[in-house]
């Protein structure tokens, strides 16, 4: 059994080198398809970062009535801090508001009017991780009904619309990726099938000599795995250095998933085995 298994493994390797043209065509097909898929994956990976970027900007500001007592708003800040969807709360008192006003308009409002009319406000930063529009809207309407709250400034609707559009773009992108994956499977599968139908005689010789399906299939699987590893590895190197080049030439910050190589090679092996299996089914009349 060990002798037979060792023979099958060595046959897989030998076939890979014996059928140079078929191996070359399979590797090129896998390389082209996985270069496209890998690039789409990198773009998709960075689209998520874009959403994270927008979400990091989710804040709203609560302006309090002038007569609000410190004990009231301090207790309110403490209460806000316990909410799961809030990551941070910043209290902006009258003095700090005046400073912000001066920074933005270049005038000292206290000097100009003789008193400080600016309200105390609380800036609320929302958690990116636990963010949900429904929960935020419900929190805002609760706060709006409080006696000491004068006004709430929230640009959530615009961000919400933007995220909707990004989500639509991601959906279209995913449909595109699925179509490419389907096409890749077809193209790779047909290339493998073509290379195997050329060896129909070889398969028949094995069959007539009493080879089991396992014996016939194993070297083909090994050959297919080798082609996938080479094709996938080349695609990974190409995608990686293309984006590294883009980043340096255009000054971009496109990030690459650290497991991209596993993803590309793993998926190409999966498609390779699937294609080989489909092809074997046809050749062995299963």
């Amino acid at each position: 059994m060990i002798d037979q298994f060792a023979f099958l493994i060595s046959e897989g390797f030998k076939n890979f080198f014996r059928n140079k043209l078929a191996s070359f065509l399979c590797i090129i097909t896998i390389f082209i398809n996985f270069s496209i898929l890998g690039s789409l994956f990198v773009v998709g990976f960075n689209t998520n970062s874009l959403i994270d970027f927008f979400r990091s900007k989710y804040t709203f500001e609560i302006f309090l009535e002038n007569e609000t007592q410190p004990s009231t708003y301090e207790a309110f800040v403490e209460q806000l801090n316990t909410d799961k969807i809030i990551s941070n709360v910043k209290l902006i008192d009258k003095e700090e508001s005046a400073k912000i006003f001066e920074k933005e308009f270049g005038e000292d409002v206290v000097e100009m009017l003789g008193y400080n009319p600016l309200p105390i406000s609380i800036k609320v930063f929302l958690s990116e991780k636990d963010f949900e529009f429904e929960k935020v809207n419900s929190l805002i309407s609760t706060i709006e009904n409080m006696d000491f709250v004068d006004e709430i400034e929230y640009r959530g609707k615009y961000i919400d619309q933007m995220e909707d559009r990004i989500n639509l773009a991601i959906f279209i992108f995913l449909v595109f990726v699925v179509a490419i994956i389907f096409l890749s499977i077809q193209i790779i599968s047909n290339t493998v099938k073509l290379s195997m139908s050329n060896r129909k005689d070889f398969i028949n010789i094995l069959k007539y000599n009493g080879a089991s399906r396992f014996f016939i299939k194993t070297p083909f699987y090994i050959e297919s795995i080798l082609q996938s590893i080479f094709g996938g590895l080349l695609a990974f190197i190409f995608v990686k250095y293309c984006f590294v080049g883009f980043n340096s030439y255009f000054g971009l910050n496109v990030k690459l998933d650290e497991f991209l190589w596993i993803w590309i090679i793993g998926f190409s092996i999966f498609i390779g085995i699937y294609s080989a299996n489909q092809s074997m089914k046809r050749n062995l009349n299963e």
């Binding site: 059994m1 010789i205 007539y208 014996f215």
Partner: protein
């Protein structure tokens, strides 16, 4: 050993074999004769389950064509050695590798493979050709490689489909002599041929086919 019971198989309306009733015994040497298209190859293919009867059944070495599942056909083929008119050799492998193939399929170890291949090479007079590739050999030599590959696993039965079809008379006689030798050592041989001259002086059983039907035998 081999039994056909009302066996029929047809590729189309005009070709195939029909209502075959036949029994071939252990250690028997028989010729399957008939003109081209008479059904000799079909009859052999029915024996190694390359085709399955559309009617009737075939029993061979304990395997029944109706009961044997497709995934178990290889177990039958391990017991049969098949010789083809077109040799069916692996062109990218040496004579030694071609002959060793059935032994790898049977899961034998390297030492046992070497031993059995040497015996087969000796019997077929191919010892000096073991490192050559099929395309470097003559037709007769290639057919001997095919025979060596068939006998190397010590099969219970040899099915030879027109093994002398492409050979000159001298090479054909040599092939027949090897098959007779194999038969003497206890292996049944069923040889399809339309070379009546070659078998004229032999006293083996002759099974005759015409238009897919059994005429005599």
């Amino acid at each position: 050993m081999v039994e056909f019971k009302n066996t029929s198989f047809n590729y189309s309306k005009q070709s195939g074999v029909y209502d075959i009733n036949l029994r071939i015994n252990e250690n028997e040497f028989c010729f399957l004769v008939g003109p081209t298209g008479s059904g000799k190859t079909s009859l052999l293919k029915l024996m190694y389950f390359d085709i399955i009867p559309s009617k009737g059944e075939v029993n061979i070495l304990g395997f029944n064509s109706k009961k044997t599942k497709l995934r178990n056909v290889h177990k039958l083929r391990k017991k049969i050695g098949v010789i083809f008119q077109d040799y069916k050799l692996l062109q990218q492998r040496t004579v030694y590798e071609n002959i060793a193939l059935p032994l790898h399929i049977n899961g034998l170890g390297r030492t046992k493979i070497k031993e059995n291949v040497s015996e087969a090479l000796e019997l077929t007079d191919l010892t000096d050709f073991q490192s050559k590739y099929p395309h470097q050999l003559s037709g007769g030599e290639q057919q001997r490689v095919c025979i060596a590959r068939a006998i190397v696993k010590n099969p219970e039965i040899i099915l030879a489909d027109e093994p002398t079809g492409n050979l000159d008379p001298t090479a054909a006689h040599k092939i027949l002599k090897i098959l007779e030798q194999i038969n003497k050592e206890g292996t049944s041989v069923i040889m399809a041929t339309h070379n009546y001259k070659l078998i004229a002086e032999k006293e083996y059983r002759i099974i005759e086919l015409k238009n897919g039907r059994l005429i005599s035998g």
